[in-house]
């Protein structure tokens, strides 16, 4: 029984990845649909992030008594990476519930719905990265080749996004309180994770709050290279560790409960 379940879960994931044409079209389709009939279209993604970064950058640098030149790029990258990390968790809750019609009508790998959501967020990330380059240009910054280290970091964050969404989607299909709970928890996490502020602003006896927060390390593995510094080994190790451990837990759940999802939704 267990062996059969493992084989089927594996087949679902492999087949899901193989159906890239399907989820990439669906991901694009979602973006187009969201901005259909708006004049600026998906450019709104870039614009709203840009306005947020500009406004918060000016106000919070004043609040924190920091140089705008130093604070604003930090904030910009932080917000972009945070959104890439947190949106899959929040939207992940609805990957299966939201595709109820299709799941009950057609047989396609369930992982397709997760990958569709992830692809949508990769597209949003690409739109938001425009802000990063604008900020670099405005402040005359150049992180150099170190910035390329953000790529492995981004891949780790992306893999984390997939497992969190798969797990959140599966649990939410069964327990309908999870989407609301996740929304609340993510809001709190946003405030206690060093996104708007930096770890160095904490007094040394409570820095542990940041150090023990896996989200902090995931963000740092992308943010630090983009701002021109190499992340410490502990950051890489934690980010990677969280991803591997998360996938292990998620796979266990997926193997056991994959076949139930169609009944739950």
């Amino acid at each position: 029984m267990t062996r059969l379940r493992i084989a089927k879960a594996r087949a679902d994931l492999i087949e899901g990845v193989r159906r890239w044409e399907l989820w990439s079209v669906l991901g694009w389709h979602d973006i187009r649909q969201r901005y259909r009939r708006s004049k600026l279209g998906p450019f709104w993604i870039t614009l709203s992030m840009g306005v947020m970064v500009g406004a918060m950058g000016v106000v919070y640098s004043e609040l924190f008594n920091m140089n705008v030149r130093e604070y604003l790029p930090f904030l910009a990258v932080g917000l972009i990476v945070w959104s890439f990390l947190s949106v899959p968790i929040v939207e992940g809750c609805n990957v299966f519930i939201g595709s109820e019609g299709v799941i009950r009508q057609l047989r396609a790998p369930l992982s397709v719905h997760v990958l569709r959501m992830m692809w949508r967020n990769v597209i949003i990330l690409a739109h938001n990265m425009v802000i990063y380059f604008v900020v670099l240009a405005v402040f005359g910054l150049w992180p150099g080749a170190t910035a390329l280290l953000a790529i492995p970091g981004a891949i780790i964050v992306c893999l984390t996004g997939v497992w969190t969404a798969l797990l959140a989607g599966l649990l939410s299909a069964r327990f309908r309180d999870i989407p609301y709970m996740t929304g609340t928890v993510m809001q709190i996490l946003f405030l206690v994770t060093p996104v708007l502020w930096s770890e160095t602003q904490l007094s040394s006896n409570i820095r542990l709050i940041a150090q023990l927060n896996p989200f902090y390390h995931l963000i740092e593995s992308v943010r630090m290279p983009l701002l021109g510094s190499v992340p410490p080994l502990a950051t890489w190790a934690t980010a990677l560790g969280v991803t591997v451990a998360g996938w292990a837990v998620t796979l266990a759940f997926f193997v056991r409960y994959r076949e139930r999802i169609a009944y739950w939704i």
Binding site: R19, E21, L22, V25, L26, H29, Q33, R36, G101, V102, I103, R104, Q105, L106, R107, A108, R174, E259, A262, Y263, W264
Partner: protein, 248 residues
Amino acid sequence: MACIRLDHVSVSFPIYTAGSRSIRARLMAAGSSGRIATDAASRVLVRGLEDVSAEIVHGERVALVGRNGAGKTTMLRVMAGIYEPVAGTATVEGKVAPLFEVALGMDPESTGYENIVLRGLYLGLSKAEIRAKADEIAEFTELGSFLSLPLRTYSAGMQARLSFAVSTCIDPEILLLDEGIGAGDAAFLEKARKRLNAFVARAGILVLASHSDTLVRQLCTRALLLDQGRIVACGPVDEVLARYRGEA
């Protein structure tokens, strides 16, 4: 070679919203013909199928008949691989094209063309394959310029045309129909019937759940009579229909 084999298949649905006994009692009073029971954790369970065994081989055209809630749609969904049985095994060999409620799985805000592409991709075609078949599908639907309008502007019959055209264009070996084509007008039904007959002639498997005796007689050779999730009769269409009508 296409083939469907159900071996002692049982399916039951946990109803999480109906946790209390009073709701359960109300469900019972409403006279649902599905069986309602509770499991170990005292959740309400609705029995969809109970210990169903059947074998359908290539070239067979089988009708599922029975009252509302007898388990016809559930059985089709098991054959489509959407519901995996709680007990027993379901083996399905061959490319399956399910065609259930026509509106399900279509995006009302997208145009007809976009829905053709999306549905085709879901059914396992590549973009290139869909492009190659797009004209044929468009022609079959006879929807013309409506195909560039959002699906929400379509009537039920037009939606039925579209999903029927896409689902049958993938050259399936197994076609599962759930009253799907009932919404079309007479001319379309005739066209759909021709396509179904051509499909059947290629020795594919057709499974049709329907309340229409005419449709069942026209398309099927064998029938399964379902009642409360069990197969109570199985045989030539006329015999099974006679028994079903006799009981009802």
